[in-house]
């Protein structure tokens, strides 16, 4: 199949109470494609009044939706999955046009994973049980889970549809109504989804509000009429959202990124086999999704006795990354999501050089031809340095990896943990002891062992330290969207005897 930029309407609305609505004050913002910086469509620049309408619609819908049977909700989630699957290519093209990522990723990862995510939550709620404990012969404690009510969700632009699925599927599965604010860089797929699934859900259960953080995000996160806020993004806005939520004593979940170490031990070079080939790819996965992944393996730690031999292979594999038209199935890496990200990445490469990091490959913007010359492309870049440099400590969110060496296990662990964050990590070895002990010693919520960048449903995902809290991608997320109701029942006919 040939992929291309899909047709967009001139402008879109917010999705409120089952209908598309224009913003109250009639203001829209332009959404450009990072592939060529051309206009895709206009989306509502919503303000507080629009946000309030969505929250009200969700509140009106929550009692009935919260009482639907799990069978009913499960069926609807499966239907949502079916609709996304039936429109897989359209979703993939839209995601590539909007975010800039290569079509081979949206076709093979973003969209299929989103489909599976809805199916996963459709399944697990059918298999769940509450609990009953007989505390003594006359007293029984029942635990029943109840939905929170209305959930505000603010999602990022790096995987617009998949991050939507990670948040929306468990929230709906556990019986909540949702007000979702997609990132303003990538409003397309959430709107397209609302067009496709709007009639599957009762009005008000799923609402999509577009707009800017300070204008639409703030009234959503600070509303006293939502019962929870879930956020993926950066630390300052994370703190701000937690402050807003604290005024309402609302629970929050936060996924705030990381600076994930990817650790390669000597034994990987013991044989020249498929596994070594996999290790080389594992190191080059820093360039996956243009490096715009919260868990990007952006620090590469290599044991010093194999450094020269291994990095040579990693550089060669990195230099083989094909950049070009993101709609070409052979393109491996597309555009960065926006101009400001592009600028930020370049400024980090500069400070890295100034701090004394050696550029092993890449090291600048990538100019493509024709229409693509206006897009935001960066060469996959490897910087050699040490862990105290800023390029080793800050999330660049681009195809830039910082590499250093370590002497032994103790030093590997020390460097791996010398970071403010703790979202992901990778450990690569043929040594059976290291396979268990090193991942346990790394302070991160997800440690990939002899693999990386795999995100199957039913493997919980979330951070330690400043990377946040909450575990998505797993049934334990259901309880982040629910209350615990305890019924404590006495079957004793006799009084306590106090009064």
């Amino acid at each position: 199949m040939n992929y291309s930029k899909p047709k967009f309407k001139e402008k879109y609305g917010n999705f409120i109470n089952g209908k598309f609505e224009a913003p109250d004050d009639g203001e829209y913002f332009e959404n450009h494609s990072p592939i060529d910086n051309k206009l895709l469509a206009k989306y509502p620049r919503s303000k507080e009044s629009d946000v309030k309408k969505a929250i009200e619609a969700a509140n009106n819908a929550k009692d009935a939706w919260g009482k639907t049977s799990v069978a009913e909700r499960s069926t609807i989630l499966n239907k949502i999955a079916d609709v996304i699957e039936a429109n897989l290519n359209e979703f993939a093209q839209m995601e590539t046009a909007d975010n800039g990522k290569a079509i081979r990723e949206t076709v093979n990862a973003d969209v299929p994973l989103a489909v599976d995510h809805f199916r996963y939550f459709a399944s697990v709620i059918r298999a769940e049980e509450g609990s009953a404990s007989e505390l003594n012969e006359n007293t029984v404690s029942l635990i029943i889970r109840e939905p929170l009510g209305v959930v505000a969700q603010i999602i990022p632009w790096n995987f617009p549809l998949l991050m939507l699925a990670w948040k929306v599927a468990p929230a709906l599965a556990s019986g909540n109504c949702v007000v979702l604010k997609p990132a303003e860089q990538t409003p397309a797929s959430a709107t397209f989804l609302a067009e496709k699934i709007g009639d599957l859900l009762p009005p008000g259960v799923f609402n999509v509000i577009h707009g800017f953080g300070p204008e639409a995000g703030k009234p959503l996160a600070s509303s006293g009429k939502v019962d929870k806020v879930a956020f993926t993004g950066e630390t300052t806005t994370g703190q701000l959202i937690m402050q807003y939520a604290s005024k309402n004593l609302n629970p929050v979940t936060m996924e705030l990124g990381g600076k994930s170490p990817n650790v390669f031990f000597s034994s990987i070079m013991d044989h020249d086999d498929d596994f070594l080939d996999k290790c080389i790819e594992g190191a080059v996965l820093f360039a996956f999704n243009q490096g715009e992944v919260c868990t990007a393996p952006s620090r590469l730690l290599i044991q010093e006795d194999i450094y020269d031999a291994f990095i040579e292979k990693v550089i060669a594999r990195t230099e083989a990354i094909k950049m070009g038209d993101p709609f070409d199935m052979n393109t491996m890496m597309g555009a960065q999501a926006s101009n400001d990200q592009h600028e930020k990445i370049l400024s980090y490469i500069e400070i890295g050089k100034e701090e004394g990091a050696e550029v092993l490959t890449g090291g600048g913007a990538k100019k493509l031809d024709g229409d693509l010359s206006n897009g935001f492309y960066i060469q996959p870049t490897i910087l050699k340095g040490h862990n105290k440099m800023r390029v080793f400590q800050e999330e660049i969110f681009g195809p830039v990896v910082a590499v250093c060496t370590f002497k032994d296990e103790a030093e590997a662990i020390e460097i791996a943990n010398d970071t403010l964050y703790g979202l992901g990590a990778g450990v690569w070895t043929r040594d059976a002891h290291q396979l268990y002990q090193i991942p346990r010693a790394i302070k991160a919520g997800r440690v990939w062992v002899n693999c990386y960048h795999d995100y199957p449903a039913h493997a919980p995902f979330g951070g330690y330290k400043k990377s946040g809290f909450g575990r998505e991608n797993h049934l334990m997320m259901l309880n982040h969207y629910r209350q615990t109701k305890n019924m404590l029942i006495s079957y004793d006919k006799k009084k306590l005897g106090f009064f």
């Binding site: 990132a183 953080g213 950066e234 806005t237």
Partner: protein, 122 residues
């Protein structure tokens, strides 16, 4: 000779002035982490809780610039300039509706700057 840890370009200062008129007192807080992280956020002063966990790096355009202490440990050898670029951030920073984004340019502090700042900050 006086040295500063953080400065601002004229272009960025103009936008800060504009936003001060619109929003009143504001602060900069350097963000970290995912997505729009590693960028400075301009926020209404009363919205964002600053305490001993944050360090004050100086004022730019009359706006205090903060960063968390632990982050500063990795940044303290660098001089920062708040600059401006066209763009579309997804954070709560106040310039975003203008289609602009503050961005940090960095360079290493020189020896004389470091000794001056160390003395001044005790």
């Amino acid at each position: 000779m006086e040295f500063k840890r953080v400065e601002i370009t004229e272009e960025a200062a103009e936008i800060v002035e504009k936003l001060k008129q619109q929003h009143g007192e504001v602060i900069f807080h350097q963000s970290g982490g995912c997505c729009d992280g590693s960028s400075p956020m301009l926020l209404p002063k009363e919205d964002f809780y600053i305490d001993d966990n944050d360090i004050f790096l100086g004022e730019v355009s009359g706006v205090p610039f903060y960063m968390s202490h632990d982050q500063f440990e990795y940044w303290k050898h660098t001089h920062l300039t708040v600059d401006l670029t066209n763009g579309r951030g997804a954070s709560f920073s106040l310039e975003i509706p203008l289609g602009k984004r503050f961005i940090i340019r960095s360079r290493l502090l020189k020896e004389e700057e470091i000794s001056y700042l160390n003395k001044k900050e005790g």
